[in-house]
């Protein structure tokens, strides 16, 4: 029995130490973003030789939103001679194929790829098909519900003038931020995650992350390494670690803003975060040691990258720590930890989509000039248990994926957009 108590107490101490490490990490990020000199991306470069860019838009039943994206892309100021748009219709059974053909008839540089039949489904498989026919040396990816700003493609493409850059990430801003409490919280999450976390990691030369949309990468890197792995749901995280392991950099441009539609119901958010957790943890299992021992990655990058790989395990660790505390309580062994277990609750006031503690979100909201939205911050405590549940389920999905080597099935996030909102936007 004594051994059991020692193990339980050891796990408890491990959880507390882990929480303190993350708390310090994100305090450093917040401090850096608020007070350090900011590392600006490549927006001040003026070059007549812009690279050939292929914009890829993977889509499955996107009739509600796709016109908005095309219309935004058509307003972009990138040289049309050096731009092509490949719309990847992945087994849609709504009016998406007709809309793509309609745009192709009007604009020849919009090229649809229709993926039907028994072929592999999902975003990575679709991107692989598009990579085979893309003419651009730089690939920029958007999800179908995104609305890029006018100069976004130019800002993203310019970074590839730097030969060390393997991928770039722009900033995602929710367009439906004031719809309900969930979208308010997601807006805060995005603010902490991009305005502070990504920018600070870029400032500190750590590990800014390619996010799968509103970002770009070099085509030749992907082709040389066999394209996207269709067994991984988080192809963005996988790409980030692949690029770093090969000695390239990922850069972040905080000014390259693109607007997205956030999930508007908790049910949809739950499914989305479970999928993210599954994909991220698959990458974690695959890259943990490979990244840690990569000769192309510096020490600080390794530390940051390892902590980043573990973020979707932390909610499960915290959940188990609370069960651990409950068992210790009934064994009468809580007294020596009286109060100190409060450190576990530091971790609860986080957003879990991109892991930002309350002070990091506060810093982001402050920099963004948000006002009343910030008052929703205390609501985070209740959403923790929601995230703990779905992220843990995603972790177990990933464990089963690894054990059974099963094929993953891509599930897209439900869209909420409608014509009325488009008119109002």
């Amino acid at each position: 029995m004594e051994m059991v108590v020692k193990i339980l107490q050891g796990y408890f101490i491990f959880s507390i130490v882990l929480m303190i490490i993350y708390a310090i990490r994100h305090f450093c990020f917040s401090y850096n973003r608020l007070f350090a000199k900011q590392r600006v991306s490549y927006r001040d470069i003026y070059d007549s030789e812009l690279p050939m860019v292929t914009v890829m838009i993977p889509m499955h039943n996107e009739e509600a939103v796709i016109r908005n994206l095309f219309d935004s892309l058509l307003k972009c100021d990138y040289d049309r001679e050096k731009l092509e748009i490949i719309a990847i219709n992945d087994h849609s059974d709504d009016k998406t194929p007709e809309i793509l053909e309609e745009y192709h008839d009007r604009y020849l540089f919009i090229r649809p790829i229709h993926r039907n039949g028994d072929g592999e489904r999902g975003k990575p498989a679709g991107l692989n098909d598009a990579l085979k026919v893309a003419r651009g040396e730089v690939i920029i990816v958007f999800d179908a519900d995104y609305r890029p700003s006018k100069n976004l493609i130019k800002k993203l493409a310019l970074a590839f003038k730097d030969p060390k850059v393997g991928a770039i990430m722009g900033r995602v801003v929710p367009i439906n931020a004031k719809k309900n409490m969930l979208t308010v919280l997601l807006n805060l999450e995005r603010s902490g995650g991009y305005q502070v976390d990504q920018q600070a990691r870029f400032n500190m030369r750590l590990l800014p992350q390619y996010g799968g949309t509103v970002g770009g990468f070099r085509k030749n890197i992907m082709l040389a390494t066999g394209g996207f792995d269709t067994k991984i749901l988080a192809e963005d995280t996988e790409l980030t670690y692949r690029i770093y392991s090969m000695g390239w950099n990922v850069v972040y441009d905080n000014s390259a803003e693109c607007y997205e539609e956030s999930p508007e119901t908790w049910e949809v958010r739950g499914k989305q975060i479970r999928r993210w957790s599954r994909g991220h943890n698959n990458v974690m299992f695959r890259y943990f040691f490979r990244f840690l021992f990569s000769p192309n990655v510096g020490f600080a990058e390794k530390v940051d990258g390892t902590l980043l790989l573990l973020v979707y395990v932390v909610p499960l660790i915290l959940g188990l720590a609370q069960i651990d505390c409950l068992i210790l309580f009934f064994m009468g062994k809580m007294e020596i930890f009286a109060g100190w277990w409060a450190i576990l609750f530091m971790g609860i006031y986080n957003t879990w989509g991109n892991f930002a503690p309350f002070y990091e979100i506060g810093s982001g909201a402050f920099l963004d000039g948000m006002e009343k939205e910030i008052l929703a911050l205390p609501q985070l405590c209740f959403s923790f248990y929601f995230y703990m549940w779905y992220i843990s389920l995603g972790f177990f999905d990933a464990v089963i994926d690894i054990i059974t080597r099963r094929n993953v099935k891509w599930a897209k996030t439900k869209r909420f957009s409608n014509e009325k909102r488009v008119e109002n936007a």
Partner: protein
């Protein structure tokens, strides 16, 4: 960015948010820690003994007026240098087997009902369901191992008081460091910290009294769920609430007249 008038013209252009940041001297930051945070921590540590005594005295007086139970105040050693900690002593009550069984069945039914009505998995419902699960575990414990329950109301009372001493210490440190990210206006942060501590003390005392009354009147069965469900999480809720108010007020100030002077663009 900017406010757009009815004519579609921007009548106010906001500063770019992309790369703006604040100016901060390291020396000011360190001086604030040395001359404000450290003394506040020392004052707190030197006075937790008195704080716990006054809380216990007030709580014991109030409980005596509400219930017929007799209460007293005991003390125990805590941190070696900073002195003893005081707490209330009261007589607790074990639940009967029937009570534990009824509690188990009712809690189980509630969990099933919550799961049925909570098809959208709303966060608040998940939180309440987890609270019910803790109570379910407590009911099971008393059904099978009731005689091995390791606490009396006295041991629980001291556990609570020790927990609060550490929680309040942590709130001071975490709140001070968190607000230091936004502004170095010391008096503004001291006032908000004082406000936070008053609220946190009031909440801590009210909860202590309620816990002691509930457990003494309705048995140890409720001890675990009270400790885990309405415990430290809510102390932090108050802190994050005050922090969000602080950011809201600071944000308004920094977006106002002085904005051009506080923001830097590398």
């Amino acid at each position: 960015m900017g406010k757009i008038s009815n004519k579609g013209e921007k009548n106010e252009i906001y500063y770019s948010r992309d790369y703006r940041h604040l100016n901060r001297a390291w020396i000011t930051y360190l001086l604030q820690i040395i001359f404000v945070l450290v003394p506040v921590i020392l004052i707190y540590l030197c006075s937790y003994s008195e704080i716990s005594y006054y809380i216990s005295e007030f709580s014991a007086g109030l409980i005596s007026n509400i219930t017929v139970d007799t209460t007293g105040i005991l003390k125990e050693k805590y941190f070696p240098i900073f002195g003893v900690i005081y707490y209330i002593t009261m007589k607790g009550k074990y639940p009967s087997f029937t009570m534990a069984m009824i509690s188990f069945i009712v809690t189980l039914i509630l969990i099933v009902v919550f799961a049925r009505i909570n098809m959208n998995r709303k966060p608040l419902m998940i939180f309440l369901t987890i609270g019910l699960c803790v109570h379910l575990a407590s009911s099971l414990f008393f059904i099978f191992f009731g005689n091995k329950f390791p606490y009396t109301l006295d041991t629980y009372s001291i556990l609570y008081m020790k927990q609060q001493v550490i929680v309040w210490l942590m709130i001071i440190v975490v709140y001070w460091l968190s607000t230091s990210l936004i502004t170095h206006v010391t008096w503004y942060r001291i006032i908000s910290l004082a406000m936070l501590m008053v609220l946190s003390f009031v909440y801590g005392i009210v909860r202590y009294i309620l816990y002691m009354i509930i457990i003494s009147q309705f048995s140890y069965l409720f001890m675990a769920s009270l400790y885990f469900t309405f415990g430290v999480l809510f102390d932090f809720l108050i802190m994050v609430g005050i922090f969000s108010l602080f950011i809201y007020r600071s944000g308004k100030k920094f977006q106002g007249k002085k904005r051009g002077r506080v923001w830097k663009w590398s």
